[in-house]
């Protein structure tokens, strides 16, 4: 009952194959990516706003695109079972949202520590502060230092491309780390958007676990005497040094991922109008809202540039320093109360008085372009900028 | 000086109860003469083997 798919060169699928324009939701875009990713196994647990995407992936299993799929008992169990499946040497997928992310938190550093190329989608929503199912991306702040590579999708097209490409980036022998692909829930998952899709009869080559920098956990790969994720807790210097050097290697692997991210995602950041004195730096849905604000400000004669941050980990430190070098005002709109992107950017650039922290919306509030525009106009007045 | 276990070869019948009771792997082994033999370098001196030997062929000792 499955449409015959043929394995194709990833470069061809990503860059050269014909693309068909479709009008689909972000959740559907996620399933379209998984359909072409030659995934062996997916595990699901329901949570709003992730559920629809994992229903659709269940349908893919029923149609024969995946070899195994089940609904697990909670998110910690999902992420643990996905880890087990990945140890076994296959390609896996799962997704979650907000409180589910926090419930499963213990497993994310385990994935990175174990060097598993797991791809997981996060449909960000509020967590209990107080509870909200609405779009908000505070959970990303909590995952910044788990060792995972993190991409932030602006729209359904980004979500499709980033998930499909994440497999190839994650499975590079010199990278071999988990990748989380984040999108702001509802805004991306539950709205329809134009997405350009490569043909559905093409799929990525299957994952080759023999190219991994760590042995596959299948009793076929010598040495047999291998402990995965060893508890390096002996109280002696060698244990500390082994733990520290392994940890450093994970951070180094993320740095080595940069060239692959540049190649496949076309850069860790995207800049438009780089010479503008006023810049908006944003990630996720805030980028789309900023584009609208920039258009309207231009009509009023205010020239504003845009830095879209696509890769959150590894963080594009150098790229952001050079993109903001000549800016006199840097505006960072965010869909969370904590302002994690603002902290990240401020920690790498000079002269932080240039930074306007916000606007920030949360708890399900939207970010109308007028909000961004008025914040920028106020800042221009306060700083006495000439525009 | 370390504690270990000494085998009285005259009393040992090779029943292997001590081997099945030792928490360490490959520390008590069965010789070709069907008597047990202790690797005293790796014996932790718990004396569980002494406690189960039906012939009292094993004794606490030291090296």
């Amino acid at each position: 009952m499955t449409k015959e798919q043929c394995v194709s060169n990833p470069e061809y699928i990503f860059f050269d194959s014909p693309r068909e324009k479709v009008f689909i939701t972000g959740s559907e875009a996620v399933a379209e990516a998984v359909k072409r990713a030659n995934v062996d196994m997916a595990i699901a647990y329901p949570i709003t706003p992730q559920s629809e995407s994992m229903h659709l992936i269940g349908d893919l299993y029923a149609q024969g695109y995946l070899k195994d799929y089940y609904r697990a008992e909670n998110e910690f169990a999902v992420m643990a079972a996905i880890h087990g499946a990945s140890l076994g040497g296959g390609r896996v997928f799962t997704a979650t949202s907000g409180p589910g992310t926090l419930r499963a938190m213990e497993m994310f550093p385990v994935w990175a520590g174990s060097r598993q190329p797991i791809v997981c989608a996060f449909m960000c929503r509020g967590v209990s502060l107080p509870p909200s199912i609405q779009p908000e991306n505070i959970e990303m702040a909590m995952l910044l230092d788990t060792g995972m590579i993190m991409f932030h999708a602006e729209n359904a097209q980004d979500y499709f491309d980033m998930i499909l490409k994440a497999y190839i980036i994650a499975e590079q022998p010199e990278v071999h780390l988990p990748i989380g692909i984040f999108a702001d829930g509802f805004f991306v998952t539950h709205t329809r958007d134009l997405v350009m899709l490569p043909p559905e009869d093409l799929k990525l080559p299957e994952y080759d676990s023999t190219s991994a920098p760590v042995p596959t956990f299948d009793m076929e790969t010598p040495p047999m005497r291998i402990t995965r994720d060893p508890l390096l807790n002996k109280s002696n210097f060698i244990s500390y040094a082994a733990n520290a050097s392994w940890h450093q290697e994970i951070l180094a692997a993320a740095q080595r991922a940069k060239k692959h991210i540049n190649h496949y995602l076309g850069g860790m950041i995207e800049i438009s109008n780089p010479d503008a004195k006023i810049l908006i730096a944003a990630s996720g849905t805030a980028v789309s809202q900023s584009r609208e604000a920039i258009k309207s400000l231009k009509e009023e004669g205010i020239d504003v540039g845009l830095v879209k941050v696509k890769s959150i980990r590894p963080f594009p430190t150098k790229e952001i320093i050079s993109a903001t070098e000549n800016a006199e005002l840097i505006v960072i709109p965010e869909f969370n109360a904590g302002g994690w992107l603002c902290r990240e950017i401020k920690s790498c650039i000079d002269n932080n008085s240039r930074v306007l922290e916000g606007p920030r919306v949360f708890g399900g509030m939207t970010m109308p372009k007028e909000l961004i525009m008025s914040e920028i106009k106020n800042a221009i007045k306060q700083k006495g900028l000439k525009v | 000086m370390y504690v270990t276990v000494k085998v009285d070869k005259d009393k040992c019948t090779g029943c292997k109860l001590c081997i099945l009771t030792c928490p360490e792997a490959n520390v008590i082994t069965l010789n070709e003469d069907k008597k047990v033999c202790i690797n005293s370098n790796r014996c932790k001196g718990c004396f569980l083997c002494v406690s189960v030997c039906p012939k009292k062929a094993l004794k606490e000792g030291s090296v």
Binding site: I43, A72, E73, M107 | L20
Partner: protein, 279 residues
């Protein structure tokens, strides 16, 4: 795997340690061994840092000597004392977060079935009482409800050993332990009975005072899990360090327990009984 996978080429033979060469030449890989053969073959466990007289390390040693196919066995564990001997064994061993072992084993077993459809890859969970009865109870029960074909072995020392002797759900009622300064207020969690009602097709409750029985039930449990469904073995492995008895008393304590909370118990479905007749 085949023992050929680990056999060194002639040129490297002289630089490999004796333990490695013994494992290839006198080990249990592709060379069926059991508890009865202990003392006459090279065991897959190497030197480990368990305390003298440790019941857990004895339980692990007996269980690992009973693997029907060590060359295709994978052990999933959880942090705690059991880690120390298991991480020194010549089978693939995974140890991730506390209490997630049956979920990790589920994913692993299913992926190995996808990748090796024509082979038996035995996935065995071997963890302490805290990992199963307390922090990992939900994930353990769910793996049984789902009928995952894995063997779960509890090494029950009735205490949290590695963290320093705290009360666990499997501790005896009334026992004074760390975090139970006035004695434990409730009975041992009936995990063995829960296994039967939760979908395990075979279960056995034994102690390290009966090594041959341990060998027999572990072997049966693994063979049954291959063909029929989830199986559970609960082994009493007393802890001299935290229960504060001399290390040469471990077997005596286990024997006493056989008259009390650890009387021999076994359950099996009709299908399993039929299957056991034929092996």
């Amino acid at each position: 795997m085949s023992v050929r996978n680990i056999t060194p080429v002639k040129e490297f033979e002289d630089i490999l340690p004796k333990e490695y060469k013994d494992l290839v030449n006198k080990g249990p890989f592709n060379n069926k061994k059991s508890v009865d053969d202990l003392g006459t073959f090279k065991e897959i466990i190497e030197e480990h840092p368990h305390c003298a007289g440790c019941g857990v390390s004895l339980g692990i040693r007996l269980a690992l000597a009973s693997l029907p196919s060590p060359e295709d066995s994978l052990v999933v564990g959880t942090p705690g004392c059991s880690f120390f001997a298991l991480s020194q064994s010549a089978v693939n061993y995974s140890n991730t977060a506390f209490g997630n072992q049956n979920a990790v084993a589920t994913g692993l077993k299913r992926m190995l079935q996808i990748r090796y459809p024509d082979k038996h890859k035995d996935v065995i969970v071997m963890v302490g009482d805290g990992g199963i009865a307390d922090i990992g109870l939900d994930l353990t029960l769910h793996s049984w409800f789902r009928k995952e074909k894995i063997t779960t072995i509890m090494l029950d020392n009735e205490v949290y050993g590695n963290t320093g002797g705290q009360e666990s759900g499997m501790s005896m009622k009334g026992r004074v332990l760390n975090m139970a300064p006035t004695g434990k207020k409730f009975d041992k969690i009936p995990v063995f009975d829960m296994a039967e009602v939760s979908g395990c097709v075979y279960g056995a409750r034994v102690t390290v005072a009966n090594p041959k029985k341990v060998g027999q039930v572990v072997r049966n449990a693994i063979l049954i899990a291959r063909e029929i469904g989830p199986t559970y073995v609960q082994i009493f492995t007393p802890c001299p360090t935290n229960m504060k008895f001399p290390p040469d008393q471990t077997i005596k304590i286990a024997k006493e327990a056989q008259k009390d909370q650890y009387s021999y118990k076994e359950f099996m479905t009709d299908e399993v009984a039929e299957y056991l007749k034929n092996i």
